[in-house]
């Protein structure tokens, strides 16, 4: 395979064939897979069976793709409520991999894969890398965290299956990452976009200009980021910055990816059937209308997810992409339908902050979370209004309060944050829902 010039996509990769299926064939493939997965979930997943029974439905009622709208939703709390293995459709002896992601109350969400599932995962990651212009002959550095998190191993197996040379650096030790990038002739890097900016800054401090290095692509996911951020990244590094999308509940990375056009993310919908719904009513919306993304795993055997509500807000782009792929695109996701935010790759809910504050004082003060980004790293400041109940004349007592609050937050979230005590009535009140979060990060 000829080596692609900087910024150009190589020729077609065979594993990407399903990306280009004619619509009729794609629908037939989706429908046959949907029938099979619904039957499997109905037989083997108690919660799904129960909800189908409540609606008086059986798998036979799914006679077309449109009938998917009859089926019950799955939500994140279902995974927590059935911790650890309650949603599995396979016996443990057929499960070859377990991964877990952080849950909001400390209990992780456990996901499972059969060998066939692992192979599908690798194949959608191959399609992801191919869409980003990579192939055999590329040297891919994988800085996503290896371990229970799906990012590291997901990208790894895909990059290997692609035929690339894979360097499993995982996260952290930025100087060594840069040394590897430079000395090993890395052509593509997988990491979070904010970590990449950190690498760019650190490299500049080390006197290394990324534009001089062979690296030509960045495969960025696990957190939201915007067009202005992409421009900054590309200008600073000479690297083409691609957005990828995934979530552990569905498979991990590899659910959707940008292509050379960098205009929306192609969902590998022969495996992950997308719907957009109105988040309040649950009613399906048309392509082009914005709403909550719902995904159904058409081929995941160990832990099928039927109509999983992702809480991500986007719309399906109706127009065909210039790259020729027929699998539909979603507009890049930069916000969620609930309050959750992501800091340093960790999901955080303001309710967790509240819990931490309550733990220390027993009363819930007015608070506000302020997110900033300094030198590529996310920082969180929590401003807490001092009330008469907690105000002490003794400096040490106030400092202890500050420290205890910070410590409590660190215990619950695992993230260090700065707690600032502020005067009462300085934090803006709002009508109805309190604006708990001020995100000053230039995503």
């Amino acid at each position: 395979m000829k080596e692609a010039a900087k910024g150009q996509a190589p020729t077609f990769h065979p594993v990407s064939a399903p990306d280009y299926l004619p619509a009729e064939q794609l629908w037939q493939l989706q429908f046959s897979r949907l029938s099979a997965i619904v039957a499997r979930a109905y037989e083997r997943v108690g919660l799904f069976r129960q909800r189908m029974d409540e609606r008086g439905l059986t798998p036979a009622d799914v006679t077309s793709l449109a009938d998917i709208a009859k089926l019950p939703f799955t939500v994140k709390t279902d995974l927590r409520d059935t911790y650890p293995f309650g949603l599995f459709a396979s016996e443990m002896k057929d499960v070859v991999r377990l991964h877990a992601s952080s849950g909001t109350t400390g209990k992780p969400i456990v996901v499972a894969y059969t060998q066939a599932d692992v192979d599908v995962w690798a194949s959608v990651m191959v399609r992801t890398f191919a869409a980003c212009g990579l192939g055999r002959g590329d040297i891919i550095q994988n800085s996503y965290g290896y371990g229970l998190f799906t990012g590291g191993l997901g990208a790894h197996y895909g990059a290997e299956a692609l035929g690339a040379t894979v360097i499993p650096t995982s996260g952290g030790n930025t100087e060594r990452q840069i040394m590897v990038m430079k000395d090993f002739g890395v052509t593509a890097l997988c990491c979070t976009p904010s970590y990449f900016l950190h690498i760019v800054d650190r490299a500049a401090e080390m006197g290394i200009d990324l534009k001089e290095l062979p690296i030509r692509a960045g495969i960025f996911g696990a957190e939201p980021w915007t067009e202005p951020m992409r421009e900054r990244v590309e200008q600073a590094s000479g690297v083409k910055a691609y957005d990828i999308y995934g979530l552990s509940e569905i498979i991990g990375p590899g659910v959707a990816s940008e292509c050379a056009e960098q205009s929306g993310l192609h969902i590998f919908e022969d495996h992950f059937y997308p719907e957009i719904i109105d988040p309040t009513s649950g009613e399906p919306l048309e392509d082009g209308q914005e709403g909550e993304l719902v995904l159904t795993t058409l081929s995941k055997w160990a832990m099928p997810m039927i109509r999983y509500r992702t809480r991500d807000i986007t719309y399906i782009i109706p127009e065909r992409c210039g790259c020729g792929r027929t699998v539909r695109r979603i507009r890049r996701i930069n916000r969620r339908s609930d309050d959750m935010f992501i800091i340093r790759g960790v999901n955080v809910f303001p309710s967790q902050i509240e819990e931490a504050l309550l733990r220390v004082e027993g009363t819930l003060p007015h608070y506000q979370i302020i997110l900033t980004r300094e030198q590529g790293l996310d920082r969180m400041e929590i401003q807490v209004e001092v009330t008469a109940a907690v105000f002490s004349d003794r400096v040490r007592a106030m400092e202890d309060l500050q420290r205890n609050l910070s410590h409590s937050i660190e215990q619950i979230l695992g993230i260090r944050s700065k707690v600032t005590l502020v005067e009462p009535h300085t934090l803006k009140r709002s009508e109805g829902k309190a604006k708990r979060l001020i995100d000053k990060r230039d995503l």
């Binding site: 008469a388 004349d393 400096v395 106030m398 500050q402 005590l421 005067e423 300085t426």
Partner: protein
């Protein structure tokens, strides 16, 4: 025998110190003495005013967080060693001192030092027993002419 001191929480940014002072000025309340404890993050402004109940109401109306702390005023000789001899007695009696600051006014030819003790009642009893002159609010305001 104890004085009621006001403590006000201040964020460490410009204008926060003048705010409570402005409130008191507008209410016609004279600050007899004050002390500012500061950290990098915040400050605690401690005030002695005669009309402390009214002051608390006014400050809280203006949105300040206010505490009342009982402190003890002690007369010491206004000369080298005046404070030191009292401190020796306090330390010898194993009384825990949180902080101290001086009054701006003199009481005759004596200086007045404000003490916050961990246990003010016990401290007063012990110190009076050793002949230290603890001065209560009535006598204090009279002597400083306020």
């Amino acid at each position: 025998m104890k004085l009621n001191q006001l403590s006000v929480f201040l964020e460490n940014k410009p204008g926060r110190l003048s705010e409570p002072c402005k409130v008191l000025a507008q209410a016609g309340i004279n600050i007899l003495t004050l002390s500012l404890a500061d950290t990098q993050q915040f400050g605690i402004l401690r005030l002695i005013v005669r009309e402390w109940e009214q002051a608390k109401v006014e400050l809280e109306k203006a949105g300040c967080v206010v505490n009342i702390t009982e402190v003890v005023a002690i007369e010491v000789a206004d000369q080298a060693g005046g404070l030191e001899s009292v401190l020796e007695m306090i330390e010898a009696a194993d009384i825990n001192v949180e902080y101290i600051y001086a009054f701006t006014y003199r009481s005759g030819d004596k200086a007045i030092i404000v003490f916050r003790f961990e246990n003010p009642d016990a401290a007063i009893e012990t110190l009076q027993g050793k002949g230290v002159n603890v001065i209560g609010p009535v006598a204090l305001y009279d002597r400083i002419g306020q």
